[in-house]
């Protein structure tokens, strides 16, 4: 079907909303730049001899992670839709779970199993005579890839659902299973896979905790080191520009790719049609690699957490869980509020860009992801010190705002994807019917509701595990469960930490899974 027309006014409104979106999601992080001689400060701390190699290492790690995530993510998606059976059903239900696991905890779990006397090291040493090290480039790349590849899987699944010509039609033309995939489907998935990889690239580029834990120095460490040394957010913000730039370039590349996405699909999902096609050998191989990654990415952290929780009889873990219920409640309340706020803020930009400039939308969304979280937190902390916003610092409002802004791009991407798969005839009705209020209440909101709720849920789940902003904006006397968990981590209470991490996962799943199932049904996925 054809896309709806793009009047000049809708383009203009997209640019206005896009500008506001960038201002909201990245502006607070850049706030310190307006306050001081930031560029001079940034220039003075830039050390070419050291900074360039670090920047190249960062880009190398992010590029490898993105490539691995593309391969594994696409493989898993293709495998999941190419047949039936309980294994695929379970995989479809679980594939987003690695995104729920704080990546720092995953890294610690891998350090545990690959430590000198760890279970996997012992097994490998006994069976194959060598041990793997979790440290260095490969360890960092492995942990990041295993945690982030579901982003690609998710995007590929959406793309497969939205294909305008169904597999049965392609099948009819190409008259065979594997050729249908090779010549009919894989080439059309490439823009989506590349865009997913770019999203992973932008996230991995700004990542600090995992490379630091696994002893691989990256450019983000330069920013943290400068920040810790001088406490000057202007210098740190200026230093962040070199990693923001590659992310923006990547985003522009994604923007051009996004023009080739399947724009929309039938209301009925065509996923079932793929299961009738025979997957070619290369598809089976990368599919099984993707499946193995999902199993490893989930099983290793969860098993380590369960074993640690139960160590010493588990009594200490039970006590800690009991003591953390207040933090858990506070976390869920603020995370829910952040999700709803982000969803509301992202709605205009997702809607207006979807109608007029879907390509540019990617650039707008991805650029803020490369801004390190602490800079956003510091910018908001400085803003809250302004007399006008003094009231906001007395409650959880700045924390809610901080998480909402940090994950605003996620909310916008989820909503845009939802719009992409909705029926254009309904958009036309929403745009052309008379009366703004009536149009919004009777047409736009009912159309957008599942996308709004889904994006709020995504942002809430990400907010639950976030610490860099929480430590800067959490109101006195309250504590998020992630902060409590990381505080215990330093104390070495591994069974309490594990029990708490499991509790977060279970609670998030308990809220997220029914919601996800309801929305899937509602969206006829």
């Amino acid at each position: 079907m054809n896309k709806p027309p793009k009047p000049a006014s809708s383009k203009a409104s997209a640019y206005v909303w896009g500008g506001l979106f960038l201002l909201l999601s990245a502006g607070p992080a850049l706030f310190p730049l307006f306050d001081q001689a930031a560029f001079a400060a940034g220039h003075s701390v830039w050390n070419g001899e050291r900074s360039w190699p670090l920047l190249i290492r960062s880009i190398g790690l992010a590029a490898f992670t993105a490539s691995a995530a593309a391969l594994l993510g696409a493989g898993l998606a293709v495998w999941m839709v190419s047949g039936g059976g309980p294994a695929r059903k379970v995989a479809r239900g679980l594939y987003l779970f690695p995104l729920l696991m704080p990546v720092y905890l995953s890294a610690m779990a891998w350090m545990t199993v690959l430590s000198r006397d760890g279970a996997l090291s012992t097994l490998l040493a006994r069976r194959v005579g060598f041990v793997l090290s979790p440290f260095g480039f490969w360890g960092a790349a492995m942990v990041l890839s295993l945690n982030l590849f579901p982003f690609v899987t998710w995007m590929v699944i959406q793309s497969l659902e939205a294909m305008d010509a169904g597999p049965a039609e392609v099948w009819a033309v190409l008259r065979g299973g594997p050729p249908t995939w090779r010549r009919g489907i894989f080439p059309r998935l490439l823009p989506t896979v590349a865009a997913g990889a770019i999203l992973v690239f932008a996230i991995a580029l700004a990542e600090y905790a995992v490379p630091a834990l696994l002893q691989f120095n990256v450019f983000s460490m330069e920013i943290f080191a400068e920040y810790s040394r001088s406490g000057d957010p202007a210098a740190a913000a200026a230093l962040a520009l070199p990693i923001t730039l590659p992310a923006v370039i990547a985003a522009l590349a994604a923007a051009s790719l996004a023009r080739r996405f399947p724009a929309k699909g039938a209301r009925e999902s065509r996923l079932a049609e793929f299961s009738a096609l025979g997957l070619p050998l290369e598809g089976k191989i990368i599919g099984l690699l993707g499946l193995a990654s999902l199993v490893l990415g989930l099983a290793v952290p969860v098993v380590v957490l369960v074993i640690h929780s139960l160590s010493g009889g588990g009594s200490q873990a039970i006590v800690e869980v009991g003591a953390s219920l207040g933090s858990l409640g506070f976390s869920f309340r603020t995370a829910a509020a952040s999700g709803l706020l982000a969803s509301a803020l992202a709605a205009p930009v997702a809607w207006s860009f979807h109608r007029s400039e879907p390509g540019l939308f990617w650039a707008v969304c991805l650029a803020p992801i490369a801004v390190p979280s602490p800079l956003l937190g510091i910018g908001l902390a400085q803003l809250s010190a302004e007399p006008l916003l003094d009231w906001a610092s007395k409650g959880p409002w700045m924390l809610i705002l901080g998480h909402a802004l940090r994950f605003l791009p996620v909310a916008a991407l989820v909503q845009a994807d939802f719009w992409r798969r909705s029926d254009p005839l309904l958009w036309d009705a929403a745009v052309t019917s008379s009366g703004l209020l009536r149009r919004t209440a009777r047409l736009w909101l009912p159309l957008a509701a599942p996308g709004l709720v889904l994006s709020a849920a995504f942002v809430s789940l990400f907010s639950l595990g976030e610490i860099a902003i929480a430590v800067l904006l959490c109101p006195p006397g309250s504590q998020t469960v992630a902060l409590r968990l990381f505080n215990l981590l330093h104390y070495g209470a591994s069974n309490s930490v594990s029990a708490l991490a499991l509790l977060i996962l279970v609670a998030a799943s308990a809220c997220g899974v029914p919601l996800w199932l309801a929305i899937r049904r509602r969206m006829t996925l």
Binding site: L443, A449, C474
Partner: protein, 330 residues
């Protein structure tokens, strides 16, 4: 579709309202706000004891090691124009020195700390030391026999010890950074710089914090690590095969880092802040934290160790961190 989706929206409205309501919290009348980098498990009982003794509600914000020292100290700097905290209780001293230099702290001489020796107090009253944590060598007793355990920092450079068997926390952050600055202050900076360069050239593992050093020594992934006494105590309590070595002959090279307590300049609850500061620096609080094994000694009865002037350490912090960046961040 429209009707069902409309229900979604209608269901969302009360959720928003409820979330807003639940997220709001009332403010008690008598309260004090403390930002602390001391582990919650140790700090919380002390703050509760203050609440009970003084009838003042304590609202605490705790730091996390994973924030890489960019947490509470930088929050205090960002809030300088309109402070939200009354007291800063740090588990070490370097961030406090930086805050004092930046005009974030107010002078206060806690009456209960009048018996604290001058070397553990700021002469202008910007901070007061409380309790000590030592920088020690934690050795895995399965990897190293007692005779092979290094007894000084310089022994880490001996060829008998493989570089990959040594772990140190990244000197860009935390007490590891303070330790580097203290070595700059106590010996010539060139000599200290050369020590760290040799460690790097030897291939020592630069880890993501003292707790990671502890964990890797406990698991045997490294044979010896430079860490803090409270971290080492956790490994000992868990039954790990580790031993603590106090560097230097009889511990003469051991750096003892004080906790530091300070009142924030322009604190919204200044009087309550001063009372909490007085409470935290008292001998009784110090005794409790020594009993809990968070502190290894009292500032009032400091063990023999590396002699440093904390003012001098403060002056060397910037140089040491710049050097640490150059040496280890590449």
């Amino acid at each position: 579709m429209g009707t069902a989706a409309w229900k979604w929206f209608k269901a969302g409205v009360p959720v928003v309202a409820m979330t807003g309501f639940l997220a709001c919290g009332g403010q008690p009348r008598r309260e004090v706000v403390v930002y602390t980098s001391v582990d919650q498990v140790y700090a919380e009982p002390i703050l509760k004891a203050f609440e009970k003794a003084e009838g003042i509600k304590v609202l605490a914000v705790y730091d996390v090691e994973a924030a890489k020292s960019t947490g509470l100290a930088n929050r205090l700097l960002a809030e300088k124009k309109s402070p939200k905290a009354d007291v800063f209780w740090s588990s070490e001293v370097s961030q406090t020195l930086r805050l004092a230099e930046n005009g974030v702290l107010a002078p206060f001489f806690p009456p209960s700390a009048s018996d604290v020796p001058p070397e553990y107090r700021d002469p202008k009253g910007f901070w007061t030391g409380m309790g000590l944590r030592g920088r020690i060598l934690l050795c895995n007793s399965r990897r190293l026999s007692p005779s092979r355990m290094p007894r000084s920092l310089e022994a880490l450079l001996l060829p008998e010890l493989d570089g990959a068997d040594i772990g140190i926390a990244n000197p860009l952050f935390g007490t590891s950074s303070t330790h580097m600055a203290a070595l700059y202050a106590s010996m010539a900076p060139e000599k200290a710089r050369s020590f760290y360069k040799e460690l790097r050239d030897k291939g020592a593992k630069v880890l993501d914090g003292n707790s990671v050093v502890r964990d890797l020594v406990a698991s045997g992934d490294v044979a010896v690590g430079l860490t803090d006494t409270d971290d080492a105590q956790v490994a000992l309590d868990s039954g790990a095969p580790v031993e603590i070595v106090y560097p230097g002959d009889g511990g003469s090279e051991t750096l003892y880092v004080p906790n530091s307590v300070a009142v924030v300049s322009g604190a919204p609850h200044a009087e309550a802040g001063r009372r909490l500061c007085d409470f935290l620096t008292s001998a009784e609080t110090e005794r409790k934290l020594v009993s809990a094994k968070f502190l290894c000694a009292s500032v009032r009865n400091a063990p023999r160790g590396l002699k440093v002037s904390w003012q001098e350490v403060g002056r060397n912090l910037d140089l040491a961190r710049r050097d640490a960046t150059g040496i280890f961040l590449r």
